[in-house]
Symmetry: C2
Subunit: 139 residues, 2 copies
Amino acid sequence: MGAVVEGGAFPFELGEIKRFAGVFDPRPTHLDEAAAAATFFNGLAASGAHTFAAWARLYWDLTPGWANQAGTDISRMRLLRPVRPGDTLSLRFEVLDKKPYPLKPGFGFVDMDHDLRNQHGKTVLRMTCRIMIELRPGA
Amino acid sequence: MGAVVEGGAFPFELGEIKRFAGVFDPRPTHLDEAAAAATFFNGLAASGAHTFAAWARLYWDLTPGWANQAGTDISRMRLLRPVRPGDTLSLRFEVLDKKPYPLKPGFGFVDMDHDLRNQHGKTVLRMTCRIMIELRPGA
């Protein structure tokens, strides 16, 4: 309860931002520097889906040995700032609550707040979520 | 108000599921058929981040000509079913509300419900979100 985990480093390179966007979110704001500079983004920014994918990777990197997880239920997620080419993100999350899943023996819920930040310490993505987790034997 | 948009096709190939997971979510449940079969997933499934990225692409494909968007605020997102190799997802969304953004002239909010479904018509991801959108001149 109340455990805080913090760390990790996920870099956003220009080429990778464009490659991801080309497949998953081909907006000019993610693909074309000149077009992006002419919008309220004031320059090229990564897709929000790319930012969320970076969260998944940082969460994995910061939870070695954690059990199998599924059924993610995000009660709120906000994309608060653009992620720019050259940014490196890190993650801070806090475990708010843990409890058994009454309908599914051997499983439990973990409630968490997640804060994904850039190298300036500014939050780019914030979310509160509940994840279903397989309990360790005897837990 | 109340407009419903539906369609698109985003395929999940085994190789692409593993490639995405290798970069963004390297859990055995997304990378290793035998390991995944031994978990409550009952087989390999795509990363939830991959599913969300497919949503971004389908939303783009279904909204040609829509204005620049940002500041996505998801008030709830649930990953309800696994996405399997060979699945093809489509999107149905409904516009719940549109209103001007009082603090930022020229911008507005659009509230929507999104329902991402597999080829059997079963929902794999459901979310409610608000997106900030640049108003068209004269809107």
